[in-house]
């Protein structure tokens, strides 16, 4: 009890700066916990990657945030409005793509957008046609505006769904797996669209099970794993928490390990190289920030008679971090 109170107290002073803020948000279906006490903090103006493997609770979290499902416990605020009591205030300022696009197959693309727009009582009918045309133009569907949605390809439906989210100027865009079903070109278009929307000051909350697809555009990220939030923060924060690693490609694995051990590094053979030449292995060792300089390491190895074919010092990639956090690859579900 006291823990939740502290969390709420801490969240409150920043609540105005947060587009999405949850404390202890939990959603159960029967005995199954889909979302387990997550404290999400999405800063205004950020492009926030909501990452996690399929089935980790991302979509359920989004459904609760948008009032489609009721939280079992915990609090949530959307654009400063309490969920669900003040949602009617927030939702007109939120555009959303939830678990794939959905349309009336017998209506044209433009008519589908008009239909959704008229559901929002605050959307001005006088400007409806112009806004629909502009939204279609932004996602490159003007040529298909009068085509029935039934005849749209999966990628076109996805873009029409994003157009629906952009019908009125939004403060927050929630995009659940926006690149699903898109080809590489379409994926790139969605990324540039997200950048453009973010440049206008809209907060973008984008969920994905494919890290690579959002890594390039996000300023912040959170990682879900079986219903729990295992990490969140700016991308730099998330990358920075991992120690540097030195990698050596060499045919002299044992001698490298011995030499590193002499230098105080805990080295180990990490298996064959990516494209192994005869007898070549990769040796990896965590490199503390106060450890030897890279050039000294190379010199020491060469002096010890190690044939160095490749040498690299790097922070673990974000993907390595997330695999470590979630215990599985992001691509497993593909």
């Amino acid at each position: 009890m006291s823990e939740t109170a502290t969390a709420a107290d801490e969240a409150d002073p920043h609540a105005a700066d947060l587009a999405i803020a949850t404390t202890g948000l939990t959603k159960r279906f029967g005995h199954q916990i889909a979302v387990n006490a997550i404290d999400l903090a999405v800063p205004r103006g950020s492009v926030f990657g909501f990452l996690g493997p399929n089935g980790s609770g991302k979509t359920t979290t989004i459904r609760v945030l948008l009032g489609l499902a009721a939280a079992t416990s915990g609090n949530a605020r959307l654009l400063g409005n309490d969920v669900p009591t003040e949602l009617a205030e927030a939702l007109p300022r939120v555009g959303a793509l939830i678990e794939g696009p959905a349309f009336y197959p017998f209506l044209s693309g433009a008519d589908n957008l008009r239909r959704l727009d008229s559901a929002d009582a605050r959307a001005d009918p006088a400007t409806r046609d112009a806004r629909v045309a502009r939204a279609l133009d932004r996602v490159g569907l003007t040529h298909a505006a009068r085509k029935r949605a039934r005849a749209y390809s999966l990628g076109m439906k996805q873009r029409l769904g994003i157009a629906a989210a952009l019908l009125t100027p939004r403060d927050l865009l929630v995009l659940d797996e926006p690149t699903n079903g898109l080809d590489p070109q379409g994926t790139r278009e969605v990324r540039s669209l997200i950048r453009a929307v973010a440049a206008e000051g809209t907060t973008v909350f984008v969920s994905s099970h494919l890290l690579a697809e959002v890594e390039q555009i996000c300023t912040h990220a959170a990682v879900m794993h079986v219903g729990s939030l295992v990490a969140q923060g700016s991308l730099d924060d998330l990358r920075g928490t991992g120690a540097r690693v030195v990698r050596v490609e060499t045919p002299d694995g044992d001698r490298t390990v011995a030499e590193f051990a002499r230098l105080g590094l805990d080295a180990a053979q990490a298996g064959p190289a990516l494209r192994p030449r005869a007898g070549e292995v990769v040796v990896e060792a965590p490199l503390p920030d106060d450890g030897p300089a890279a050039e000294d390491l190379v010199a020491a190895l060469v002096a010890a008679g190690v044939r160095v074919r490749g040498f690299d010092v790097a922070r673990p990639s974000l993907e390595d971090r997330f695999v470590a956090l979630t215990g599985e690859g992001f691509d497993v579900a593909r």
Binding site: G67, A70, A88, V94, L116, D120
Partner: protein, 283 residues
């Protein structure tokens, strides 16, 4: 945020959703197919009567069939009598069962709700559009009945159940009354359908359930052992429009039915609200 932009935001256009709902309903091929099927009933009936060598005798076939040859206006009334027990409620079952469940199975329900349509507003709009369909359905039967009747049998005098003879104008008024009664009969069913539609994400399932309920209610209405239950069945007054064809009109069953249907609308409307207002939309 500046104050004037706040007031601009606060201006609402609540009627837009109903207009959109009606447009969607009446742009569906399915809706027109059902209306066309309804329109075929008076046409078929009138053509068959016209082509048969002997006019139907009193008491033969559906009620008032013998009157058809005297006054074409009675085609509309007879067609309404024919469609009320099964055909008309079937179409209402399709439309009302589809209201929420259909949106859920398309996936559009979640987008309407985050638009935000508002759950109560969406339910109201869905019910009103179903009422509009009920009007369109009985109106279709009436209109085609009038037209085909006038063309094939002309517009002579007709005899009412009370033995009085009425002319064309009066016949039109009487058939309008019967049409109003039939439409009101469908309102309770539409509310039941709306409620059932909130229970499932499968539109077809909801439609089937409403259709089955219609049959069950009429079967229960046939069982004398359940006489105590009969006044409470929404189908109880469905065929009770004979009183509207007397001179003077006896309003008892018309008003009793209207009250009963209003009760059904209130009860199942409340149930639908209770269910849909708190339902997790996971479709």
């Amino acid at each position: 945020m500046p104050a004037d932009s706040d007031t601009a935001r606060a201006r609402t256009h609540g009627g837009a959703l109903l207009a959109s709902e009606l447009r969607v309903l009446f742009r569906r091929w399915r809706t027109w197919a059902m209306l066309a099927a309804l329109a075929s009933i008076p046409v078929l009936m009138a053509v068959v009567v016209r082509l048969s060598s002997e006019p139907p005798g009193p008491g033969e076939g559906p009620p008032f069939l013998d009157q058809v040859t005297n006054n074409g206006m009675f085609v509309a009334i007879t067609a309404l009598v024919l469609t009320t027990p099964l055909f008309l409620p079937l179409t209402v079952a399709v439309v009302s069962g589809d209201t929420i469940a259909g949106e859920a199975s398309l996936g559009t329900l979640r987008y309407l709700l985050v638009a935000p349509a508002g759950r109560v507003r969406l339910l109201l709009v869905k019910y009103l559009s179903t009422v509009a369909f009920c009007l369109a359905a009985s109106g279709t039967v009436l209109l085609t009945g009038w037209v085909i009747g006038a063309v094939l049998f002309g517009t002579g005098e007709a005899t009412l159940l009370s033995g009085d003879t009425i002319g064309v104008g009066d016949a039109v008024v009487r058939s309008l009354l019967v049409g109003a009664h039939v439409t009101i009969c469908m309102l309770g069913l539409a509310a039941v359908g709306l409620f059932i539609s909130t229970l499932t994400d499968a539109g077809v399932g909801a439609m089937a359930a409403v259709a089955v309920l219609t049959i069950v209610a009429q079967v229960l209405g046939q069982l004398d052992q359940l006489a105590w239950l009969h006044p409470w069945l929404f189908t109880h007054h469905w065929l009770a429009f004979a009183d509207l064809l007397r001179e003077p009109v006896v309003w008892t069953s018309f008003t009793e039915n209207a009250l009963l249907q209003a009760g059904y609308v209130a009860f199942f409307g409340a149930l639908a609200h209770g269910r849909f207002g708190t339902k997790d939309v996971l479709s």
